[in-house]
Each structure stands twice: as C-alpha cells, then as structure tokens.
Symmetry: C2
Subunit: 358 residues, 2 copies
C-alpha cells in the first residue's frame, strides 16, 4: 500500500466537481500532450537504464520547475501494487497500457489531480490536465503552462516541420489529445446516440465509451476527442472539437426536453426505479450501478431531487469501481463481496440525498 | 355507481388487519357454507321469478334475524355496474362465477365485511365469514351462528343421511369450504413450495394461487382449503385443515430462518429492491406490484422496516387491483393509466413507512 495513494483517496476528485461550464452534461475536459526527450530512444526501444535516467530527469524537472504550482506526488510504477495501479486507472490518471508493464515508469500528479504526467508510457511524457465541465481552452492554458515550464528544463524532441516527435506517428505534430467526457442519457434513451456518434465520427473526431473498449454505453458516459494531431494548431483543434461538443450538448438537451414533454412518466419511472435500486439494494454489480447512477444524474439535472450534491453522484461513478472499493474496505474482495460492499457504499452516500418529488 | 360500494371502499378491510393468530404468515381465514331453500329448484334450474322469490326471502331473513348483528348492506347484482362487481370480487366478497351473470342474484354483507352472503350463486346461499390470521375455529363459530339464525327463518334443504343438499355434489354434506390465505415467500424463494403443495394435496386438501386460475405464485399468496365435504363433521374437517396449515406455517418459518442465516444478503437485496421499486416507480404493473408487495411484507415481518403498519401492506394487495384503482380515480383507466395511477397510489401509501435498516 502506497501512502500517497491513500492520500489521493481522501480527497474529492476535483475534476468531478459540478462547477464547470455545461456541467449538467459535460463532466470533465482533459488534454494530454505527448512529449519526448531529445537524444533518447522512445521508451519501447529503451533499456531499463535509459528509462530510469529519463524518469529521474523528468521527476527532477517537475520538482525544480514547480510546474504543478504545488509539490507533486510522485510514484514509481514498479513499487506500486496491482491494486494501487488500478486506483490510478480508475481515477483516470493513467492509461490501461501504462500500468501493464511498470519497469522504469512513473507518475507525477498534483494533489488536486488536475495535473498528471505519465512517465515512460508510449512516450517519455504524457502531460495531462483535467477540469470539470466543458472548458477545453482553460485546460489548454493550464497544460500549456506546465509544458512551457518543463521545456525550460528538458530538451523536447521537436522537428520544425513535423512538430513534436512521438513514438506513434498518429501523435506527431501537436502531440495533443483533447477530450470531453459527456453524459448522454437523453440521447441513449431516445435512441439517437448512434446517429450522433456517426455524425461526430464523420467530422474526424472519435467517440467512445468511458470504461474501455467494448464498454459501449455503460453509464451513458462518452468521450469525444480529436483524432488528428497534425496540420492544425492546438487552438484550431480545440476550437473545432469544442464546436462539435457544443452541438452534441445541444442535441442532448433537446432529447431531454422532448422526453420530458412527451414521455414524462417513462422518464420519471426510469429515474425513480434507478434511485430505488441504488438507495435500497444490498448487492449490485458495477454495470448496474453505472447505469443506475446515469439515470440518477439525469434526475438530479432535471430537478427531480432536491438538496443534492451532484458531485456525490459524479464521484460515485469513480469510487464504485473494484480497486476503489477494495481500498475503502482495506482488503481484497472477490466479485460477490464487491457487489455487497458497493451496494452498502452507494446506500450510505445517497442517504443524504432527499427526494423531493416522491 | 352504487353508493354502498363507495361506503365499503371507505373502510379498512377488517379481515386484512394484522391482529389474528400467526398473522405474519396467515393473512386471513374464511369459511363458506352452501345452503339451499327446501322446495325450490337450485338457481341454475330456476326461472327468474323463482330466483327473485328466493332472493327476497333471504334478504328478509338476513334483516329479520339480524344475523350479522348489524344492519346488512344489500346489493341486487343486476343493478351493479361491471366495475362495482369487480370491486366486490377484488374484496373477496363474491366469486368470479357469481358476477358473470347477475339475474336474480344478490349480495348481503356486514359493513365490516366479516360476513357476506352470495344469493343465488350456484346455491341459493353461500354464507361466508372471514377473519384475519389463522383462526378457523373462530370463523366457524361466527359463520355457524349466522347459519343457525338464518335456519330459524328459512327452511334449508337437508337430508338426514347426506346432510345439506347442494347444487354440485362435491359440496353435499357439510356444504362447507374452509380456507386460509397464506403468504409463503420463504418457501417460494427457497424453491420448496412445490414440494409443500404436493404434500398438502396428497392429504386431500387443495392449494391454489389467490388471484384465480393460472395466477400461479402471484404475490406468493396461496389458499389452502378442504376438498371433501362429506363423511366428516365440520369440526373434524377444520381440525385436520388447521393441523396441516400449522405445518405449512412452520415450514415457511424454517425457510425464512434458514435463508436469513445462510443467504442474508440475498434476502436483504430482494426485499430492499422491491421496496425501492414500490417507493419510487412511476409506472408499475399489477403483477410486479403483487410480487414486490410480497417481498415488502416479508421484510416487514422480518423486522427490516420500523414504524410499519402491516395492514397497509395487506390492504395494498387488494386496492392495487384494477377495479379499486378506477373507483379511487373516479373514472375509467386503460391499462397504461392504471400502471401510472397504481404507482402513485403505492408511493403515497408507503411514504409513511420508515426504513430503519437502510
């Protein structure tokens, strides 16, 4: 057990706060920048000594530049347990590929989890910033500042024609992947989400479920991101992405309003039953929880529940996942035990939510 | 709309009170006596003038003898709307066959619904008494007293060898059908109910679902009754039936205790989810309501809910049925409207139930 992981667990996840623009539908905005150190082989081709050397240099630069503005929390991946790695994944601080192999890899995060750097993932650095709501420009400013600070200390691999050089050619250029996490229960219930995804894809953007490949519509959470990193400036990419996301948000709002007008009882029933299950079940799977939380979040956004802390609902999306449950329980839990523990956790957290229309 | 029906609807159903012996499992006890008037053809063979004559004589005797101890409420079946007839059926005051054809038929009930007489059903009279819990002897005393009083005024068709003569040979003798309504969710959940039903049937007793043929285990409510009416005295029949029912009750208790010991979370989850649905759904079918009420009743009996009025739960089994809903709504409701109205009624009634372990 790494005590720094326990420290993270004690904080609220700040990018899940409900204080960003369009936070009724946009949960969070994230930008990741791929950066590599000049004159060093990419991690995939590097020996362990080189990886360690790169990691050491990056950690030092993070501390020296105070690029997160606060002291960073730093982890060396090989020292983390499987469970702790999963916690970082569930908090969206690292990628799935990253935690599969740990030799020479590391993570530096700000303790509010707004900033994070994966060290020696596919590239020497993946610098990320994450904020609540739909605010890609602000996130860009934040991550750009970290990038600038680090570039004062570290020599970045950069080509004046191509831009930033990356391990995988799909990231060359800006090295930027910007994404917004959207909650789209209205479009899913109205069976319009496939059409919207199709339309967004045709504009050269990617849409996928949040919980990994094949997770489909789990929790009705979708991530919309740019596909190309070349031929446009960061600002242009963000502007284009932002415009599309605003459109998706407007489609989602229309779907909700139309359902509230034409199928009010269906909607109330959908939300009410989900709340009933979350509030009173004693065993609940991860999938059922995510989908029920989605319905509850919809109900909260639509004013069906008073005195509600939407951040509680947002946070539940993260903390009902297996690694978080086991950290809270302070022991390993098998699948059945997790279902019981998850139900108990959800009941406890929701007890404070008053239900003003029931 | 018959105003006497409205009067019934305003009262709590007294045989659904939770004040009888073994009322955690036995909801109510009922005895019906088949009686016919000497010298008159059975209703199936009688012309309308004869039916009217029989009905008149019986109504008069009911009033003259004050056999219900209070003024009876009397209905002539042909004057009742289909909806009002269904209300009587849902309150278990009449049989399904009885309300199919109404010419010359009638009903007399005490306003607490403990006593009722179907006039010109298969026999000239089916005298019934119903009380909460498992108390067949007390019900026998009650119905026997009514029978005695009426026999002072009315000449009953009786043969010194055969006993009471009835339209259908299966009722000849005592003319008595005694039954107890049992709530057996434990046996159903433990998948032992079929074995118990089989065992009871082998003892010459009948077990069937409450909500008509093919209703199976709806609400986990079962009616156990005597099959034979000949060759034993009423007391003997009741004693035998009562002994078997006590055994079924003990099986049900064992099933519950064993489940609470070995599968506590399964049980809590089953009850909790049912409560969640009843408390928060906005559309709910009759079948789902009955099955969820069964789980809730189990939870109440097992102490999962405090400050609970079990009579509320018992009554819901009756009043969520279609005719009651439409009487409360004061208009015809189609199936979809009933599901919405039912959900609203259930939410309202359960709002007062505090849930002390959630």
């Amino acid at each position: 057990m790494d005590e720094n992981i326990d420290k993270l667990l004690k904080h609220k996840v700040s990018w899940l706060a409900n204080c960003g623009p369009d936070d009724d539908i946009a949960i969070s905005s994230r930008i990741r920048l791929a950066r590599n150190l000049e004159g060093m082989p990419f991690p995939v081709a590097a020996k362990i000594e080189i990886l360690n050397q790169a990691r050491g240099a990056i950690e030092l630069a993070v501390r020296n530049t105070a690029c997160f503005k606060k002291d960073p929390v730093v982890f060396e991946l090989e020292k983390l347990s499987e469970l702790d790695k999963q916690v970082l994944l569930e908090r969206r601080l690292v990628s799935e590929e990253f935690i599969e192999d740990g030799q020479g890899a590391g993570i530096a995060v700000s303790d509010d989890e707004i900033f994070g750097i994966m060290i020696n993932e596919e590239d020497h650095m993946r610098i990320q910033a994450m904020k609540p709501g739909c605010q890609l420009s602000e996130v860009w400013d934040a991550v750009n500042a970290v990038d600038d600070k680090l570039s004062e200390e570290l020599p970045f691999a950069f080509d004046s024609n191509l831009g930033y050089l990356t391990s995988c050619p799909t990231n060359v250029g800006t090295g930027m992947r910007a994404s917004v996490m959207l909650h789209l229960p209205g479009l899913v219930l109205a069976e319009q989400v496939d059409a919207v995804i199709h339309g967004v894809s045709k504009l050269g953007l990617a849409v996928r479920g949040i919980f990994g490949e094949g997770s489909n519509n789990l929790g009705n959470l979708f991530q919309v991101s740019n596909q190309s990193t070349l031929g446009e400036s960061e600002a242009q990419i963000i502007e284009r992405l932002d415009a599309v996301i605003k459109q998706v948000i407007s489609h989602e709002k229309n779907a909700r309003h139309s359902m509230l007008e034409k199928k009010q009882n269906f909607l109330l029933d959908h939300v009410g039953r989900a709340y009933g299950v979350l509030r009173h079940a004693y065993r609940i799977s991860s999938d059922e929880t995510l989908n029920s939380l989605s319905a509850l979040r919809l109900g909260v956004d639509m004013g069906m529940f008073s005195s509600v802390d939407i951040q509680t609902v947002n946070e539940l999306f993260v903390i009902i996942q297996p690694a978080h449950l086991q950290k809270y329980a302070k022991r390993e839990l098998d699948s059945e035990e997790r279902d019981t523990y998850r139900a108990s956790l959800v009941r406890d957290r929701l007890r404070s939510i008053d239900n003003n229309k029931h």
